[in-house]
Every structure is written in C-alpha cells, then in structure tokens.
C-alpha cells in the first residue's frame, strides 16, 4: 500500500516532479513543496475559496484536490496567472477600486474573477456576484470587488469596439 507517490505535472508552465504524501492536498503541495505561497489555505474544507487555482484550465478548490491525483495535470496559480499578463487590467482595477483590504482572499478572488473574464464576458453585475459567491471576503463587503470585475469587463468590451 503506497502512502507516497511520484507525480510529474506542469505548474505555471514548468515541469516538476515530486514525491508527495497521499494526504497532501494541492495547496500544501504548492505552498510547502514548491514554495508558491500566493495560493492561500483558508478554511481547508472547500468553503472559502482562498485556495482557488486552475487545474487543466478550469478553476478548482485547491484544498479539495489530492496532489497525488495530479500526475500529468497542468496547474496554474496566481503567480503564473500574474506573470502571463492575462489579468493585468483586472489587477489594476482591484487596486484602483480598493478591492483588496487585508488581501487574504485576493489571489483566489482574482482566479475566480479571471474565470468570469474568460468564460462570461457579458456577465451582469448579478452574474458576477453569483460567480464569486464561493469566494469569501471578510473585509471589503464585496462591492469594490464586483466593481473591479465589472469595470474590467466593460473596459475590455470597449477595447474590442
């Protein structure tokens, strides 16, 4: 019976191989084994959304994914998303709108908001709130976050025009 597993996966475009414990979840793997501390471990039972990262292109709760199951997977964290420039405008809007206060939820919030930019470019304010409903923020009261996402969507659409 094996409690440690060799996995090879791609994290932010880099191929990594590690021996992981079966009980290691993706967020501890990223934070403790790879030193990628942008993803936060909040509630660690799938409620708060602070650990939101992409696996194979879609957002997941990192605390509800077994690292051992990710052999061959492609993982993108806030570090990779930031470096790619994909959400530079969204990040600027977060700053402009004061959408981050203590900042603990922000990486997960940006990952979830990026999902809206990518999959729901025409999202209404209500749809933005709905999409972010699984990401908790205890500081801002959400208005500034929704404002930031909404203004980014609007700016992108105007840019297209």
């Amino acid at each position: 019976m094996s409690t440690r597993h060799d996995i090879t996966l791609t994290v932010n475009g880099e191929r990594v191989t590690r021996l992981v414990e079966a009980r290691r979840h993706l967020i501890d793997f990223l934070r403790l084994d790879l030193g990628l501390t942008g993803s936060h471990a909040g509630c660690e039972h799938g409620v708060c959304g602070a650990c939101t990262v992409r696996v194979d292109g879609e957002i997941v709760r990192g605390c509800l994914v077994l690292a051992a199951s990710l052999d061959g997977a492609e993982v993108t964290t806030i570090e990779g998303l930031s470096d790619s420039g994909e959400v530079a405008d969204l990040q600027d809007a977060f700053v402009a709108r004061n959408a981050a206060q203590c900042g603990f939820c922000t990486p997960g919030m940006v990952m979830a908001a990026a999902d809206i930019l990518r999959h729901h470019p025409d999202a209404t304010r209500a749809e933005i709130r709905e999409h972010l409903s699984g990401n908790y923020c205890r500081c801002t009261g959400y208005q500034a976050i929704v404002d930031a996402v909404e203004s980014t969507l609007t700016a992108r659409k105007e840019g297209v025009r």
């Binding site: 660690e44 799938g46 696996v55 509800l64 051992a68 052999d71 979830a112 409903s133």
Partner: protein
Amino acid sequence: MKWPAFAYERASTLQDVWRLRAEHGEGARLVAGGQTLLATLAFRLSEPSVLVDITRIEALRGVTVQGSTLRIGALTRHAELGRDPLVARHAPLLAEAVPYIAHPAIRNRGTIGGSLAYADPAAELPACVVALDATLVLASPAGERRVAAREFFTGLLETALKPDELIAAVEVPAATPASRSAIVEVARRSGDYAMAGLAASLSLGADGRVSAPRLVYFGVGNGPVLAAGASAALEGKALDAGAIAAAQAALARDIDPPSDLHGPPEMKRHLARVLTARALSRFLPAAEAAS
C-alpha cells in the same frame, strides 16, 4: 484540519477497483471529484485507510444516447452536465439544476455519480433523477444491475448500493416534445444546500392535460421525496390555477419535514407549497406562450 493519513491508489479499470477493494476491505473508499469526501476527511468524519481514485476509468465516462435513453457516465462532472448538448436536449432538467450546485470551482470537480452516492437529502441531482424516473446502473464484480432512482435512495445519506458496487452510469428516458421539467429552490445564500427545493417533471398533452407528473422535493426529508399525492392531483388534469392549488393542498400529506437549523417544519411546508406554484406556473398556457 489536515486530512488523516491514508494511502492512495489509482484505478485504471473496474477490475482494479474490485482488486483494491478485495485487498483493503472496508478501509477502502472510492474518490472521484472528492468535493464531499475530501471535505469530510478534513473534519475527520471518517478515516479510510486507502482512497481509490476512479477518475481515470474510461468505462465510467461519457454522455451518449442509445435509442430513447440518455446514458450519463458516473464521472460526468457537474460543469460538463451543464454544457453538454445531449443533456440540454434530452434531459434539460439536469442542465437547469447545475447552477444551483455549490460554486463554479466545485462544479468543475464534483461528479453526478458522487452526488448520487452521497445522497444528501438537500442535494439537487438525487431529486432530479427521481423526477426524471431515471435508472442507476450499478456495477460490481458480478456484473451490472439496474435500480430505479426512486428505489435507490433508502434513507438519510443511505442508498441501495452494496459494499461491492459502484455507480457506473445514470440512464434517463429522453425528453419528448410533451416533456416539461423545472427545478426551483430556496437557499439563504447562493450555492448553499437548499432549505427546500422541487424538481418537477411531467408531460403536457396537445389537449393541455398533464400525464406522468413527478414532483420531487428536496431538503424536506431524509432524501428526495416523490410527492405521490401532489403528483396524483395533477394526473389527467388541465394545468390551471385550480390544478396547482389541488397539488399544493395534497402536498400536506406527502411531506413530513424535520425541524432543522433553517426553521421549523411548517416553514418548510410553506416553502414547498410556494415552490410548487413557482415550478408549475411555468407550464401554464400563458407562460408557455410568453416564453
């Protein structure tokens, strides 16, 4: 808290599952999307000795149409259910249910098989498969057997699954032009389990009369509750305000909601009556003409 220590094994085939279960006995737990199991492990509600990952078993994947039956592999994730064109066409109730299930990041991992096997009484998909009169395909080393969804849910978090079985697929009778379905629920926050919900399915004839109505309530009992009286009150009737009121009245004998953290039984009875009207009103001639 952190998960307890356990071992992890990846099954590539059903034979791998049978072998790993034979080796590890009751200490083995299957994990697919893991969105319930892994959260409960964080609470140390159970301490399996080995998690058997079934997500790479090809036989449990895919959505296909065979004749007039839609077959949905157990590993179909909620997000896939929500965007699959065959599901949208042949079982639109399931696609309509998806936005009610948790949040996008969870819908990208959680599977229909996992939701049905866990059988949370407030979950959407168990109620939907009962409303659609679906059949669950259960696989074991001895082969396959089929169980009607309404027979599958046997109690609080309990199902007809035997220890050596797993859910392989769900078979749904494909919708016809006469089919109507709707899911409605009341939850305090988006993505929460429902305080009360209703998955409804029926056929509406050219004469406007209802046949085969199945009103299935969730969050009001130990599992999905097929409301026999309310459903019977609609059978053969022209759908109008009177028929809806009759279904609401009959509902009183169909459900016996427990008191829970949301409120007392009478509140749930009230919510169930309101949801009955909300769902059925969608199929009134005027509403259909407007849509």
